[in-house]
């Protein structure tokens, strides 16, 4: 009998396995319960594939989407629907990062105690951080062109405006398939040639690595032939004449920045690009952005020069670029974006989530100063009434019919600290096409949210 006593411990081992499995399940139940319950397979809350409870509003409680057991009710206003659909999402899950998909757990009022048991059966309200009015303004400003406008508060991380075009009206039902990639969110998932806005990265590398940058000087003849080979001209729109570092950024001199890139070398440029978060994808609220991609050859001066001015094989994601702009504004520290307005007291105390130090304080200060100089010297402060704006334009050659227009930067205002990115595909000149869009949306945003 005593032998059996010992051998019976094997039953205890089985009991342990069962108990351990229960523990694993418990862990997952706590961690993933919300995601599980919000899955479209849950027929408790999905009727004919559509979620049946919950409301999505903008930051000012403007209703964007009402989920009912009779189906999805969107805003009455067409422009609102079209301009917010990439943030709100559609019922069929075509827009992967839409709130209805990403935050289904919160939308249905899931909590671990009650599950989806909802006595009112109306679900919960998710307040997005976006401003519907600014989204409408941005959509109208894009005026039918393909592009994106992304703006966030670089202090709190709240995304104030997120528009991607082409778009569609979710109330009309989602079109089966679209060549025009209406479901594609350029802001989160795009990766485009940055053009001259990348000079803000090269400039940061210069500030960090070239102590004698004040002595830098370049004679721009508008053609800027490098070496004797053909196809090695770093043309500029104008003949800039003699420019220093600061002036080179203000007039966006390709010749000067080509030379600076060669002086820095591929490794240094890569290091800075990685440091300011442009080569990685960004993750927030469970959403993952596209990652940029860059090639900085160490053995090919020509291609290195192109890479240093945002051409060549450079591709940047607009959202990560916006966050970099926020970092410059915020003394080098980047704040993680978010799309959900925090309702939790704890989150308020904890404050915004930092992504760490993108730049040193002094580097950020110098860049900021240069970006102001850009506006004063080049874009004209009058074009941005009421805004304390710091910016850089870009006109990216993509081989398309026209160049892509970029305008990135930030405003520095205690009440309205916004970092922004505007991209218009084949829009032409950044300063003349993208900058006015930024100006219009920022003004709308500021008017709507000042002293909120």
């Amino acid at each position: 009998m005593r032998k059996q006593e010992r051998r019976a411990l094997i039953c205890l081992a089985l009991a342990m396995v069962l108990f351990a499995g229960l523990c694993v399940f418990t862990y997952r139940f706590v961690k993933d319960g919300s995601r599980w319950a919000g899955h479209y397979g849950n027929t408790q809350i999905y009727v004919d594939g559509s979620i049946n409870r919950g409301t999505v509003t903008d930051r000012h409680d403007e209703m964007l989407l009402n989920c009912t057991s009779d189906g999805l009710e969107y805003s009455d206003d067409w422009t609102t629907r079209v301009s917010t659909v990439h943030a709100v999402g559609d019922g069929k899950g075509n827009i992967a990062a839409g709130a209805i998909n990403m935050f289904a757990g919160q939308l249905i009022g899931y909590d671990i105690l009650n599950g989806t048991y909802d006595t009112s059966a109306h679900g919960k309200t998710i307040q997005l951080t976006i401003d519907a009015k600014a989204n409408r303004t941005a959509y109208n400003a894009l005026d039918g062109r393909t592009g994106t406008v992304g703006i966030y508060n670089w202090k709190t991380g709240e995304i104030m405006c997120m528009v991607s075009t082409p778009s569609f009206d979710p109330a009309e039902g989602a079109p089966e398939d679209s060549e025009e990639s209406i479901y594609f969110n350029n802001f989160l998932s795009g990766a485009m040639t940055p053009g001259s806005i990348f000079k803000l990265v090269t400039a940061a590398a210069v500030i960090d690595n070239m102590p004698d940058r004040d002595k830098f000087s370049f004679e721009c003849d508008g053609v800027n032939q490098y070496g004797d080979n053909e196809g090695t001209e770093f043309r500029d729109i104008d003949e800039h004449g003699e420019v220093d570092f600061r002036q080179a950024l203000a007039v966006s001199c390709n010749g000067a920045f080509g030379e600076l890139s060669r002086e820095l070398g591929g490794r240094t440029l890569k290091k800075t690009t990685d440091k300011v978060g442009l080569s990685k994808s960004l993750e927030f609220d469970g959403i993952e952005t596209a990652a940029g991609s860059f090639k900085f050859p160490t053995d090919d001066d020509i291609r290195l020069s192109w890479a240093g001015i945002g051409q060549g094989q450079d591709l940047v994601n607009p959202c990560t670029m916006m966050v970099y702009m926020g970092a410059i504004a915020n003394g080098g520290e980047a704040v993680k974006p978010t799309l959900i307005k925090s309702t939790s007291f704890i989150d308020e105390i904890r404050g915004p989530k930092t992504l760490g130090e993108y730049l040193e304080v002094s580097t950020a200060a110098e860049l900021k100063d240069m970006m102001k100089n850009n506006v004063v010297e080049n874009y004209g402060e009058d074009n941005f009434p009421g805004l304390d704006i710091y910016a850089k334009s870009g006109t990216a050659e993509t081989g398309g019919e026209d160049s892509d227009a970029w305008f990135v930067g930030f405003t520095d205002d205690e009440e309205a600290p916004y970092a922004f990115v505007v991209w218009v595909k084949e829009g032409g000149s950044g300063a003349s096409v993208a900058a006015p869009i930024a100006s219009r949306v920022l003004q709308a945003l500021q008017a709507n949210n000042y002293y909120e």
């Binding site: 205890l12 089985l14 319950a37 989806t116």
Partner: protein, 557 residues
């Protein structure tokens, strides 16, 4: 109303099960003393089991630490109050009784005072004196008694009444008179059972309380899934309870039970054969047969026989023939189940076989060899059985695109809607998982989580774990290895079944489609679960606790 009920259900369930569980795990039995083994110059050893190994090895029950004594010298088994049976199991220097050497592996009746010589040492067996018996009796009386059943009984009754109200609230007119009557009959049977055996001096009812509670959840799940099945399920439950009582009474007599085994062996072989010949395929496995309008799963009933056929007295464990018979029978069962394509049940039988063989032989290497061989065979089976292979392929990836609505459909739905239940559940009858195939059987853990909440679902698993812990603990005071192997075998079966069922539905293991004991809907499964409970009852050696054990005589008024 449901909002309030959800809390009450959880509180009641926790109250019922925690009291029963704590009582089972804290009330320990002091071993009974059946006689004394007196060794010359070695002292007196109380004999606390019906079956004892005598030898030099430390793991023997009666230990004589002398080099002249073999590791396992002989087995001493109780015959009756006066007589014992002694059997030399191939000792080196032989065993002598009153000067005569015993033939190895032959049984000899001995009485108190007979002179036993092993390895040159004199010893005798003596009955316990009245004084010592009284002391032991006093000791046993001082043991913590099982908790009185009445409070739990009231709590379960309240739980059952509330369940009916909740089902009426959630399902309204779908709830037939039959459903309400079924719950009322369950309550009545529960009270009758406890009152009857309590009046006959039995004290331990925790295991039955646990089983009645789990059966209540079963009826609720069955009703929620399809109210017209409730009456059928209740009938199965009643048959199960009756079978359990019968088995308990039958198991009291060890010899009687042992004599029944050849008949059981034939029946089990026949049942599986009939299943193979006339079986019907359902969800991939051909494990159903139809008799008239009745359907049943013979393999569920064979489970019950499989346990008792694997058990053996200590003497039988040292008998090679007995072991080979058991191995052959197991192989036959596994072969049949493989042909039926019932992978899950085969896994249950196989694991139980491994554990029971280990309990019998203790030969770990043999067990490992068997395990490896079987695993290789299992892999081959995978190769030839595409539907099992696809389940293994989906395992761990059920949420992936392409799998989530295909091979992972059932698991993801069980997890998704289960999570929707939260900790408290949506209320019986309110769940949506019922629209998924086999949700009331294979996915019942998800079903319970959605309807009743995570807490109750987990408590149900803890019930199974508790029964198993109790089975292991009971060995200390066990009379015969026969009973302890039965209890441990039944515990293994319950646990493996629960593991496959629960882990399968939450993607910790491929979904194999086996039932959760007591909880899954299914008549045969319900009958088998109750019948298996008899094995646990037979191992309950707490004083006058179990109806499966003869009452102790009162030594003094």
């Amino acid at each position: 109303m449901t909002t309030v009920f959800r809390w009450l259900f959880v509180v009641l369930a926790a109250y019922i099960l925690l009291i029963a569980i704590v009582s089972l795990l804290t009330s320990r039995a002091t071993p009974e003393i059946w006689g004394y083994f007196m060794v010359e110059d070695g002292g007196n050893f109380p004999i606390t089991h019906w079956e004892n190994v005598i030898g030099r090895s430390k793991s023997t029950d009666l230990n004589i630490p002398l080099v002249t004594v073999s590791n396992n010298q002989a087995i001493l088994s109780r015959y009756d109050a006066e007589h014992w049976v002694l059997k030399d199991i191939g000792s080196e220097n032989g065993t002598f009784v009153n000067g005569q050497q015993l033939d190895a592996n032959k049984r000899y009746m001995i009485g108190s005072g007979d002179e036993i010589v092993m390895g040159g040492v004199y010893s005798t067996v003596a009955p316990p004196s009245i004084e010592e018996s009284k002391n032991n009796e006093v000791m046993r009386r001082m043991d913590k008694e099982p908790v009185a059943p009445w409070k739990i009984l009231l709590a379960i009754t309240a739980f059952q009444a509330m369940t009916v109200v909740q089902l009426l609230l959630s399902m309204g007119e779908e709830i037939t008179v039959g459903v309400v009557a079924s719950f009322m009959i369950l309550t009545a049977v529960m009270w009758a059972y406890v009152s009857f055996f309590k009046a006959r001096g039995r004290k331990g009812f925790e295991m039955e309380m646990i089983a009645f509670f789990m059966s209540t959840i079963n009826l609720a799940v069955t009703t929620s899934f399809n109210p017209t099945d409730t009456v059928k399920e209740l009938i199965a439950l009643l048959i199960g309870v009756a079978l359990m009582i019968f088995m308990c009474v039958y198991l009291r007599d060890l010899d009687r039970t042992r004599k029944l085994r050849p008949a059981l062996l034939v029946l089990a072989i026949a049942a599986l054969f009939v299943n193979l010949a006339f079986g019907r395929a359902e969800f991939g496995a051909t494990n159903w047969i139809r008799i008239g309008s009745m359907q049943m799963q013979p393999s569920e009933i064979v489970k019950v026989a499989f346990i008792v056929l694997g058990a053996g007295t200590l003497e039988e464990l040292y008998d090679r023939r007995n072991t080979i018979m058991y191995a052959l029978f197991s192989l036959y069962c596994l072969g049949c189940l493989a042909l039926m394509n019932d992978f899950g049940t085969a896994l249950i039988f196989f694991t139980t076989y491994l554990v029971v063989s280990f309990l019998r032989s203790g030969d770990f290497s043999k067990m490992v060899l068997t395990g490896v061989g079987a695993a290789a065979m299992g892999l081959m089976a995978l190769k030839f059985r595409p539907h099992i292979a696809s389940r293994f392929a989906a395992w761990g990836h059920v949420w992936d695109a392409g799998i989530v609505d295909d091979a992972g459909y059932q698991q993801t739905r069980a997890m998704s809607m289960g999570a929707g239940g939260g900790l408290l559940g949506l209320g019986a009858g309110n769940g949506s998982l019922k629209d998924v195939v086999a949700s009331n059987t294979d996915l019942v853990f998800g079903f319970v989580t959605e309807d009743w909440g995570y807490i109750i679902a987990v408590l149900l698993v803890l019930c199974i774990i508790t029964l198993s812990l109790f089975a292991v603990m009971s060995i200390v005071a066990g009379r015969s290895t026969f009973y302890t192997i039965c209890a441990c075998g039944a515990a293994t079966m319950f646990m493996v079944q629960t593991m496959l069922n629960v882990f399968g539905s939450i993607d910790l293991f491929p979904l194999t489609g086996v039932t959760f004991p007591f909880v899954s809907t299914g008549g045969t499964s319900m009958v088998a679960s109750w019948a298996m409970l008899a094995y646990f009852k037979a191992a309950d050696m707490r004083r006058n606790a179990s109806l499966a054990v003869n009452r102790e005589e009162v030594w003094y008024a």
